[in-house]
Symmetry: C2
Subunit: 576 residues, 2 copies
């Protein structure tokens, strides 16, 4: 007989709705309510507090009817896994691939994604990273507005769908990373505040009330978050979590929630006998996040490096709007490719203050680097990818620099073939008023950048969602196919070349000429030579190179002084 448990410390009455029954719950110390009730997996239930309306379980494992509907009982022990001997590849030698279940395939489900795993394995990917799948309002959305943080989205295929995907990925040798959002909850279906002090008004977040990590009652809020992370790793066999926007997790207590989380995840890994990994998105350029705990860090394994993206994007596209104003030189790219942080104490005009600190002692694999990701694409007015903003030749340069960097590279779905489809901001809010607010908000946001309202896609329009789905036919088409081959070759080279997997940032040596527009990145006996100029030119090397291993364009030629590269091209060389 399962025990139903819910935390509601300030409530005087708790009841369980189960089928036609309404069962009174018993209060325990610490504000927990429980009841043992006859129920089998698949039974629907809800909680009522102080005689109020039925609400989903804050830890609901499944919301088959969406965020307002009942929760459904689940027994994780019933799924038959086939990944018994699975051991994930280390992140340090990995290549990540970020995808969004709803737009990755026509069907937009976990099961449909399984069909594409062979493509990813063939490309050389090691880790598939899923954008958030936690139940959010509506049938489509990016997922950052999740409210039932323990429940895989019903429209994607629910709990069993996710398990089938993870199991199949493991079967293909692919690890799976899940994006988790602990800095806020979505605006619709968020009933947590009725249950307990999950939120605080002592701090704000850009997306609504901040989560209460350090005020009264925060012990259980922290458990809610940590238990959630442990659940995904244990019950769904996930290999890693990508924690969204950790700069918005405000916790001034003596043990930061991320440190607690990292410690608990490490312990679970020991119990499960497999390495579990935490990756954080952070805009703080603060090494503390990824430093070992014995040195005062939080012990997160790796963090996304926006600076690498911004430096590459600004240089390759020439864009200087918004935060790109802080970037644009080859010098910034050279710094980014060694230090991950371009801003390590330097003044940032965009931020109006000095930003970051030196990542002293941190290995390259403490950083995830990318030429694009869902945010950098989708937060543009029209969701343009890199390949829509730069020449194919420059896109090949970008790929070469990311995939030979001392960091863990990440691709965004379709990047490998330069998908022509955009990745736009789409929502499916059931609440019409909220939908309208989001539509207007989006227009106003881009009006600041002189976008006409008519040119900003309507997030609520289903066409915006459908337009963002990948067109897999492109992978075989001219232009796309060559870029796909380039990515495949770069990834293969990376994975078989120890110099490229060497995480010692201090061993990275860069030389460049800002005026002549070339850059050389030396990594042990390998070098990446790039000509950003639109004319053929000689790029000097410090010694004679042995051979050109890969080249983004024909016509690269070696001589005693260096390499001559065609316009806007990159070559990877063996030096000795």
């Amino acid at each position: 007989m399962p025990t139903f448990r819910v935390w509601a410390p300030e409530r005087r009455q708790g009841a369980l709705d189960l089928g036609d029954q309404r069962l009174p719950m018993r209060r325990h110390d610490g504000g927990w309510w429980t009841i043992d009730a006859e129920a089998v997996p698949g039974a629907d239930y809800a909680y009522r507090l102080d005689g109020g309306p039925p609400r989903p379980d804050p830890r609901s494992p499944w919301q088959p009817a969406g965020v307002h509907g009942p929760s459904r009982l689940l027994d994780h022990g019933m799924f038959v896994w086939s990944d018994r001997d699975w051991r994930p590849p280390p992140l340090a030698s990995g290549v990540l691939y970020e995808l969004h279940i709803g737009t990755f395939t026509v069907a937009g489900t976990f099961d449909a994604a399984i069909d594409k795993l062979a493509h990813l394995a063939d490309l050389g990917i090691t880790h598939v990273e899923l954008m958030p799948v936690q139940e959010f309002s509506g049938a489509r959305g990016w997922g950052y507005d999740g409210v039932d943080l323990y429940a895989p989205h019903h429209a994607y295929g629910g709990p069993d769908g996710l398990k089938r995907l993870v199991d199949a990925a493991h079967g293909c040798g692919l690890a799976v990373v899940l994006d988790v959002v602990y800095n806020h909850l979505g605006p619709t279906g968020n009933y947590l505040g009725e249950f307990g002090p999950y939120f605080t008004d002592r701090y704000g977040s850009p997306w609504g009330p901040a989560v209460n990590f350090d005020g009264p009652g925060s012990d259980e809020v922290r458990r809610f978050v940590c238990d959630n992370a442990l659940m995904w790793l244990r019950d769904y066999h996930l290999d890693a979590l990508r924690i969204d926007a950790v700069h918005a997790l405000i916790d001034l207590s003596a043990v930061h929630i991320l440190e607690q989380l990292a410690e608990e995840v490490e312990q679970l890994g020991r119990v499960l006998g497999r390495r579990l990994t935490l990756i954080a998105e952070s805009d703080l350029n603060d090494p503390r996040l990824v430093r070992p705990r014995r040195l005062g860090g939080y012990g997160i394994d790796a963090q996304w490096s926006d600076d690498v993206h911004h430096a590459l994007h600004a240089l390759l596209t020439g864009e200087r709007d918004g935060y790109y104003a802080d970037f644009g030189s080859i010098a910034d790219v050279a710094t980014a490719l060694r230090d991950a942080y371009v801003y390590a104490g330097r003044y940032s005009a965009f931020r109006g203050r000095r930003h970051g600190r030196a990542p002293t002692g941190l290995p390259g694999d403490a950083f995830v680097a990318f030429l694009q990701n869902h945010d950098q694409i989708g937060n543009r007015a029209r969701g343009e990818r890199s390949t829509h903003l730069m020449s194919p030749r420059r896109a090949m340069i970008g790929a070469a620099l990311v995939l030979t960097a001392p960091f863990v590279p990440l691709l965004f779905q379709g990047e490998e073939w330069g998908a022509s489809t955009p990745f736009q901001y789409f929502t499916g809010h059931e609440d019409a008023e909220l939908g309208e607010r989001v539509r207007i908000g989006r227009r106003e946001e881009f009006a600041r950048f002189d976008w006409s309202p008519d040119d900003v896609p309507d997030p609520q329009d289903e066409a915006t969602f459908l337009r963002s789905k990948l067109d897999w036919n492109e992978t075989a088409q001219p232009g796309h196919r060559e870029l796909l081959d380039w990515h495949r070759a770069l990834i293969a080279l990376r994975r078989q070349t120890s110099e490229l997997l060497d995480g010692r940032r201090e061993a990275v040596c860069t030389r460049y000429d800002e005026a002549a527009q070339w850059l050389v990145v030396e990594r042990g006996s390998m070098a990446i030579a790039v000509n950003f100029a639109d004319r053929r030119q000689a790029v000097p090397l410090t010694g004679a190179a042995l051979e050109v291993v890969l080249s983004s364009a024909a016509g690269a030629s070696l001589d005693a002084h260096g390499i001559t590269l065609g316009p806007e091209s990159a070559a990877i060389l063996r030096l000795r």
Copy 2:
């Protein structure tokens, strides 16, 4: 010709009022305005922004006419110091004495305090700690409402008065610590916001807008704070700063303002050739504050330990209101006397969450411990001291435990003789409306604890201030004189006993019997034995003691099993 400089980055016009002249200032990069003008030390000046009213210099060195008046030009080079060979005693072997200039003497000035330095030196004090002296509104107040953070209060004697006090203290072998408040500014005379983005509404503080340490423009705000600290240490020859309520300094940037401050102070110390010290008040129980920077800490030298106070106060007085509810057992006192943090991850009912973390590896001298301080006395409705709340015998126990602890002990003015005068909350707000708000606020605060309004002293009433002044005649009076002798004897013993100055907390061994009400603290070959019970009893020792070195009451007797102590008494023993 001096250069006048002020930072006002968002202003379009800056002017200097100097005598009868109004001189236009020139704007420079970064939002600084300057002008070179003929002026001699002693000249009064003010700034006008965008044609507005005259305002004091945010970095005014002297406000002879109060917070709204003009600033006065000062040349720090003109004071003749006599402390050329001064080297401060190390904090680790120090005994601190906190005092409030306005109530320490009848005259309430820096100069009057000089007359009492001999008393402090005779008592064995090594460091005199001044409650804040920065210019605040009115002629009397605790000082935490300072607004001209670079200016010693005019009513205390201004810049030269403070220098004379510091110089005289050094002449008596006493170091001087100054309390600095960087978490908020006072409500009256705070014109900083007119000059620049000194404040932020992204976070709150209990006392008004939070200081902007990590938002746009924060580089200069941080300079304002760091330059202030450096100024006190350099120009006023102060030996240490006590940083008020650092838990209210919210800074999520990669380099916390306290870390920056600690690093700059350390550098200044190297330049000056004398050791400079930073002490922080913190209620976070977070070892990061006092850990070395190489281990991810901020590198502050020591922090106040409220837990030691709360544990002792709750046990000795029996009070259990408010935060004392979390304390009260002998076990808590035993934990406090070894770990400084009683709450090192344990659940705090008062806070409604787990609190703190283990101070692993931190030495005892990273903590300042006290039986009372200005806050613990003055934030009570009637400002009662420990000696008003416990028997003289228990007060002697408290003194023995604080002055033999592995921490840096601190006394509050008059504690050494059990002053009969209270230390009440007093203000002298010139703004009548604000004064009334403070008066009502104070009454309402204590109404929660069932205090009748008539029993709460009126903070604005000058009598409240006068009542809080020490009565030095008491030092020679019976009862008081004995307590003074007890403190003097304990301090002398501490300073000449290496075991008591041993900062290794792990060498502290405690044994106690909660029911029988005794406690033994062993520190190497020394032991402190305490009988909290109001009956004579035998307290067992692990070995035979050699001798009773000090005893708070007659009649302590050793035998082979331990020591027999009179009711509510303490003895300090040599064990071997």
